[in-house]
Symmetry: C2
Subunit: 348 residues, 2 copies
């Protein structure tokens, strides 16, 4: 009595399918295959290259890539959830890449957010994926654009990249979007200047979330003031939208003008309108093609750099590498000679 | 009547001296020559390699490299100034590398700090150099250890590296020291967790500076609490020293124990004692050699990577690189193929 294929065995069989088969299955709606493709991309190596080759052609860019970034607890996931719901109501298919911070401190909260978004778990038009910001330096920055292309290749018209806007890498990844939404909360004035400046640079749209709390109008004024002083700003001035992602209408606690424009709403539709308006600007100005071109060239450099890294690691781990390192430590060769010998040994 | 050499012309002649001549002059006390050597190191290229070769030999490591890092405004420069004064009183020669943040926000304050330290400008036993954190990525991380070796080669027994402990690069550079002092202020509890964790990792000695202000004892307790929870800590537990770098004695406003141990002092001598104690631990445990070895191997990898980087940059800027980039943008090649072609063209 041989056991028949159990679900676990069927999973194991799936895992053996090659990237091309996986992509066909994912396009036909097989969510496990989609997850598998994204895992290959995250892991790097020959399979990731193959997935990259299959999903690269120019036509497979998603219609729109939206970045959502901000401090932990700013309400990014709840806002993302609202955006998904609104886009789904218009029939758009949405992929989400949610970048977990490596910090163990916020692990719990993030998990909660992921679970909250599982309201879309049974919706075939939505695919949500958490990506860990672990692994070798730059790993996430390499994997994120490749993962966006996978989601585009399986028919997701909008891809949302959600990151914690604290570290440099996270802010960089937020910059992988056509339109980057920076989420802040009332009282943001207390945040340190450095991260403010970084976020100011990547923001296409500002959201003051939890705007039903006191201080929203002041935070909006602060942001507008910062924008007034930003001489490096191009033709697009980031609008500042007030939202209350928990679903409360934004009432009298916000500023007078905010309550006039959004008194019956939680602000999510206004946010989406601001994103659409930025998208219109990008297309009309030719900035969309330029931005995507810049991103591609930057990605090329990261891929090259990663490949150089690997070569160096291979050299270092080789037998010759050990001998050279030892003569360096003894002071027999200086650092540049040691480097030159190491490269020579590797045939570079 | 030909004009005789003016000071400006003499400077121009100096600039033509080769690295070996410059080093001889610097060792004889020529401060312009020292500055020139450090400029060569910062600029990179063949002259930097030559300086590296001349200053590398094992014997030229400085007796002690101290890192001083912390948030902008924490009082790092003032503390550094106090440390210099105390070391000079013992007859030690001191070099300082002060890494300017690239942020224009703090430019003014930093300039002020530099000027404040100019009290040592006429002291031949002190050499202070500002290094900009500009240039290509990793440039500073490459230049800093080479600059330390230059200062050691001209007879500086102690080298202090002062950095703003905000960015990753800055924290890395602080890690180039034998003993890293992390400077915080009362009320540090408000600092974001992420940078706390990074600073916690590099700290060998904590200083609560401006400890004459309220909240110093709480901050000290916070730090001790974090240290209690740090399971990754080795044999050395970073002491937490209270200082008041502005010269005020630490009085009743700090904790009871602090006022007992340091009531008549500004804490700078206690700080130096803590540094000496860490130095003792490093030597006795064999950790000093291990640390320096690790630093050297890490530096070797940076040098190798920078060299590969240069090769690729040369190709990228050439016609071959442009052609590859254009076919990538047209979607004719995928990103991995484009990277492979670029590396092939570079002979890597």
């Amino acid at each position: 009595m041989d056991p028949r294929p159990t679900p676990a065995r069927k999973g194991a069989e799936r895992r053996r399918r090659d990237p091309a088969e996986l992509l066909d299955a994912a396009r036909a709606g097989d969510r496990v295959a989609t997850g598998r493709l994204l895992s290959l991309v995250e892991r790097g190596g020959p399979d990731a290259r193959e997935v990259g080759r299959l999903t690269f052609p120019a036509g497979s860019s998603p219609g729109q890539v939206i970045g959502v970034t901000g401090a932990p607890g700013a309400g990014k996931s709840t806002l993302t959830d609202r955006i998904i719901t609104l886009l789904r109501a218009e029939g758009g298919r949405v992929g989400v890449l949610a970048v977990d911070p490596s910090s163990p401190f916020s692990g719990g909260a993030i998990l909660g957010d992921r679970i909250r978004m599982q309201g879309h778990a049974l919706d075939d038009g939505v695919f949500i994926r958490s990506m860990a910001s672990r692994g070798h330096q730059g790993g996430l920055a390499l994997a994120a654009p490749a993962a966006v292309r996978v989601l585009a290749a399986i028919g997701m018209e909008t891809v949302i990249i959600e990151t914690v806007g604290v570290g440099q890498v996270e802010v960089e990844i937020a910059g992988e979007a056509d339109t980057t939404i920076v989420v802040v909360n009332p009282g943001w004035g207390d945040t340190i200047q450095a991260s403010k400046a970084g976020l100011l640079e990547v923001a296409d749209v500002f959201v003051v979330n939890k705007a039903d709390r006191p201080g929203a109008a002041e935070t909006q004024r602060d942001l507008e003031g910062m924008l007034d002083m930003n001489t490096a700003m191009g033709e697009w001035r980031p609008p500042v939208v007030l939202t209350s992602a928990a679903g409360h209408p934004i009432g009298q606690s916000a500023s007078q003008s905010a309550s006039q424009s959004a008194s019956q709403s939680d602000g999510a539709e206004e946010l989406l309108a601001a994103v659409a308006s930025h998208r219109g600007y990008l297309s009309a100005s030719g900035e969309l093609a330029k931005r995507r071109g810049r991103r591609l060239v930057a990605e090329l450099e990261r891929v090259i750099e990663a490949s150089l890294h690997q070569r160096v690691a291979a050299v270092r781990e080789g037998t010759g590498g050990t001998a050279i390192r030892e003569s360096l430590l003894r002071g027999d060769v200086d650092i540049h000679d040691a480097a030159a010998r190491m490269l020579e040994l590797s045939g570079i």
